[in-house]
Symmetry: D2
Subunit: 407 residues, 4 copies
Amino acid sequence: MTNRETRHRELAEHYLPDALLARMRERAAGYDRENRFFWEDLDDLRGRGYLTLFVPEEFGGPGLTLNQVSRLQQRLASAAPATALAVNMHLMCTGVVAAMFARGDRSLGYVFEEAMAGEIFAFGISEPANDWVLYGSHTVAEPQADGGYLLSGVKIFTSLSPVWTRLIVHGLDESDPDDPRVMFGFVERSHEDAAADGGPGITVSDRWDVLGMRASHSRATVLDRASVRPERVARRVPAGRTPDLLTFAIMGNFQLLIGSVYAGIARRALEVGANALRGRRSAQRGTSYAEVPESRIRLADAHLEFTAVPAQLDATTRDFDELEDLGAAWPLRFVSARLNAVTAARRCAESALLCSGGAGFSNDHEVSRLLRDATAGLFHPPSMDAARPMYAAALLDIDEEATADSA
Amino acid sequence: MTNRETRHRELAEHYLPDALLARMRERAAGYDRENRFFWEDLDDLRGRGYLTLFVPEEFGGPGLTLNQVSRLQQRLASAAPATALAVNMHLMCTGVVAAMFARGDRSLGYVFEEAMAGEIFAFGISEPANDWVLYGSHTVAEPQADGGYLLSGVKIFTSLSPVWTRLIVHGLDESDPDDPRVMFGFVERSHEDAAADGGPGITVSDRWDVLGMRASHSRATVLDRASVRPERVARRVPAGRTPDLLTFAIMGNFQLLIGSVYAGIARRALEVGANALRGRRSAQRGTSYAEVPESRIRLADAHLEFTAVPAQLDATTRDFDELEDLGAAWPLRFVSARLNAVTAARRCAESALLCSGGAGFSNDHEVSRLLRDATAGLFHPPSMDAARPMYAAALLDIDEEATADSA
Amino acid sequence: MTNRETRHRELAEHYLPDALLARMRERAAGYDRENRFFWEDLDDLRGRGYLTLFVPEEFGGPGLTLNQVSRLQQRLASAAPATALAVNMHLMCTGVVAAMFARGDRSLGYVFEEAMAGEIFAFGISEPANDWVLYGSHTVAEPQADGGYLLSGVKIFTSLSPVWTRLIVHGLDESDPDDPRVMFGFVERSHEDAAADGGPGITVSDRWDVLGMRASHSRATVLDRASVRPERVARRVPAGRTPDLLTFAIMGNFQLLIGSVYAGIARRALEVGANALRGRRSAQRGTSYAEVPESRIRLADAHLEFTAVPAQLDATTRDFDELEDLGAAWPLRFVSARLNAVTAARRCAESALLCSGGAGFSNDHEVSRLLRDATAGLFHPPSMDAARPMYAAALLDIDEEATADSA
Amino acid sequence: MTNRETRHRELAEHYLPDALLARMRERAAGYDRENRFFWEDLDDLRGRGYLTLFVPEEFGGPGLTLNQVSRLQQRLASAAPATALAVNMHLMCTGVVAAMFARGDRSLGYVFEEAMAGEIFAFGISEPANDWVLYGSHTVAEPQADGGYLLSGVKIFTSLSPVWTRLIVHGLDESDPDDPRVMFGFVERSHEDAAADGGPGITVSDRWDVLGMRASHSRATVLDRASVRPERVARRVPAGRTPDLLTFAIMGNFQLLIGSVYAGIARRALEVGANALRGRRSAQRGTSYAEVPESRIRLADAHLEFTAVPAQLDATTRDFDELEDLGAAWPLRFVSARLNAVTAARRCAESALLCSGGAGFSNDHEVSRLLRDATAGLFHPPSMDAARPMYAAALLDIDEEATADSA
């Protein structure tokens, strides 16, 4: 007997106690309305050690598994989706290194050290019109004599833009035209630079007025010969679909932790919908809407669909933590878990909206925010349409390897 | 040969020429961003006689049919959804009277006269928690000695709130406890009162920050002994599901014209999606996204679903105009046409969003606005869930009459 | 006022009175179980003049419109889907000629004469692996000195195979390699040959054991230099997507009449589902299932979806009858009407199955047959997938003409 | 590192080697066509010890977990769905006892002994119109002086009817009107009685002509004072929703193993669909259909949906095996896993049918059988509609316990 559930409950109480969640849920409304970054949430999470969840005990952290962090992120997202989505990026960077350690590659241990030292990691992979995602880049990476790089290009949807001090980036090094390489590494800046929306060779866009996940401040970042020091160059992978442990670890952490955020939104939407039904009264039926069959069934159908989502995340994170070898099936598993979570979040939010009546149409109603936050789920790579070729190829192109355009 | 299509094209060019539509589409972005009423659009429409479309020739109007107005509203909504939705309310009031005339009831001719004289009509039927909609009311209607009424209650989603001078309302007259009546009539106010958000016994809420259809300014209206003059009392119908020509005409005009607005949104969303695909380039495929099969099929599926929507509106408005006797099937036909239009609008807008990539997530992108405007479609009565009993009863409750809780 | 509905009711009583429908519904079970052709149904229909519905008055027929025949076919299919589907093929041939007459092409008047004289027409267009459908053919058409043709090839899903005496066919004439032509014409055989599954150059397959629509006996037909007399050559159209009145008329009649059959199945499935609910009792609830909310809503949702289907058929057949010029939108309209009808038939049949409980799983239960018959709807050209490119092209390929791979 | 996948592969090769699966797949077509019981499959499975999978090592069996048996059943169903569905019933009985042992209740050890001795167990729970399923019964259970029972009533869908020698049944003991009890126990008969469709107080219906899962011969069983010996009375549970380890174990095994069968059908349907595409050629495109985007995407979408199904089964069986305490969430988890598997099976089979073209419409094509077999999934309790109240209650009825009407 593993008592996994007991352990999940203990971790929830330790890192995300009910009172904290309640505070965060209240703040989420204000962040959304004022289009403000989640400063107070970040302080609280940092204060509780939430940013070190993945750091192994040997580096001074609690060494949680992806399965455990997935659960915590579901819980966090049920209160503050944008906070959870943004913090995800930092967690992911550390989770990637943890996954590499577990598979014998200890080369990026400095990420753990820096995370313990208070650095904040973010993700600079998405670029305009780059549907190669991890396997290519429009960012120019100029190799330097010392082994470092200067990067120039545009990164989009850079969550945590007002606070990150370490940005994992990739760029294309075409210095040897016969052997183009995608390099991965970390751009660094100080907390002061972050606060000033800048840094050496770094400009953060001030445009940010989006439909949902507003508190994440995932603004565009322009790199203009931004430096990656030699000791922060993580990989130089041949361009194209080249298998590599780093990209595998990114894909797994990215898809499953993003999926966890939307699973949390879905769960919260069901609660909000149920509360709304209990609080509304039907003049025709003379009962609360919680007794009206059409409303009950609306919510039941969303709940039934939702039930699969945490189970799929659970199965997939456990296999990942347990180092199962699923070969070419891994990307199919990762991406499906995330896409299904997003679909459930959108469906549950819509059901909750229908349960809320016209009141839910106001931008300041929680259900409206959940619906808007859930819509952001359509934009994480790979989109449903970008994922389709991968699922077709796995069945139809026997000689080709099933690969994923997924971060 | 009827050449209906030719006539539709002529009407489109006369009332909504391309240049006007283009101006309105541009303004729509500003109205949405600034949460502003569509003042300039209203001036343009008024100037072209758009507010008198339903007025018969004998009263000096063009006497268009519901089929023709439905087409115009689809066209208008493709440029300015909120404008179309709000103007709908005025058109509906005149359309209701036209439908009554066509069926031999000429009692409300003053509506035509007033519409010709520049009065603006709006709809004061929806109330908080009143799922009886037309068949009951939480508004207290006190009969006066002269045959008039004083009304007290709250009306919600009153489109055109800054400009209406005539509000069709209903209220419950329980002065004879053995014979409760739902009265319908018109509350009147001057253009000056409208401009001041007030009027005798009338207060218009200043709260309005909603997800979509923002320019409609469908704010709540509080009636506090607001007067309906004796000659503006239209009906005194026994409370409950009592068949009546007025409520039948409201139901038909409401469902079919609202449906027309969402059909227009759907059509525009398909165009916006197609334009977006043509304008984006896939790094992986080396082509525009208009050549990427997954994107093409995404849009094709939305287009295929959409195709049914104008056809259903066409069939139903023609039957309505031609005075077909569909008996208890009428409400099923009306409501289905509107719900399907809303579903198509939401689906097409979502498809267009997926075609637009991350750019579409910005609140100032047209596709984002279309998605938000389409979402408003979930809130017109009857909602999908409120409609379900009607479709069940028509099959299962043979002795009961299939009726609709629909405005 | 047109009183279209009154006229529809009169036609229904004249051609398909209730008593006849009841007999046919009973027979349908037997035909399905015994995999037998609908001989008795055909006799009854022929006796009532049902095979001459489209024949104009000047040729001695009643001259019904496509709109009227669509309604009759919906009614017939509600009792005997396979009978309706097969008779459709004969009706279509005459409907095609009627549509050509209405558009000024009187060249195929002999079809009316022969229909009046008792000949039975069928459709020999579908071929294995020919997704050009009307625009190409794997059948070799050898031109003869007298202007006639000899055809060799395989036609599949030839409904009415035991009785047809006139088969509309197409084949590819490559005698001039620079100008390949698709010829259309009629292969003729006697009633005696039909009864013997043969005829000159004609062999009818004896393999026929399919999931649904079994009574239609749509067996494969092998042509081996089967003759088309010169005066029965209808067209010689350049191969590829060449606009032509004959193929346009085939497309319209085919899609809309096939759609009508599935609309009839859908309607009947709703009735069967409702009857099943009324006849079953829930031990838990102590009521009939007609009172159980989950069942009611199941049926309501199917009913709501269904409601659009006859409306779309109505709008499209009326536009077709009234000679509206919809240009490149016609194929989109035709195909959407048929696909939606099939989808509704399948959904309604599934809902009815769920309403019927385990009893419905027996092959001899009407609901099981309806479900199986509805499944046949997936195979009429163009399939959903074959139709997708047409709906994509209409939005994305502005310079190309939107065309349909549809028969 | 657990190497679960390696162990799954070893078990697959041991119990269900490829050559055996191929033989079974071939036989499945014949069983279906001839409506014949799967005699040869049963012999093969028995010969390999497949009927003792759940028997613990201390009783001489291999002691597999539910997680492992679920995988094997998925594999078996991919070749022979009806065989898998029927054998499921036997496996389930032994799995129930294994689950009880794991939770400390060793009272039904005789089931293991008898399974080792060659007895075949089946499930006699479903009854006409009994939507209480496990929590009530229309079967009369007369208590006998010796502590045994005589049972009279009708059991439906009794899989394995030609071979079972032990039938787990329930009946209502109302001998004390103030304390009605649902008794569970085993009716016994000899192999000879089974072969003769009878036994003491037992009549097996000879009616069996159903849409799918035909080889399971799940015929109705009439009990007329059939005996349950005192030592084979397993439980006497108060009527109604009374928590009990036996019913919990039945629910878990039933839902998850039934779900496994449909997961296997889904997986096979994807393969069949892919093979069909590779084998068909498009005249228009000049390629195999495996290169046609619309077909690829059709299959991709089904594959994507399918991917969640084995993951959900995996997560849920592991939690069950690991004795996690999920409390009131258990029934929600069990039923969702099964319903999603059925939905995926139906969707994948439909997609495969569309990939197969008209050939798939013949009853002897594998894809037709898969579609028909998948349809049987609609009839296992609880149906989607019967499950809805449970998912609604869990959100809306806080004080009530979420319970399942599930076997």
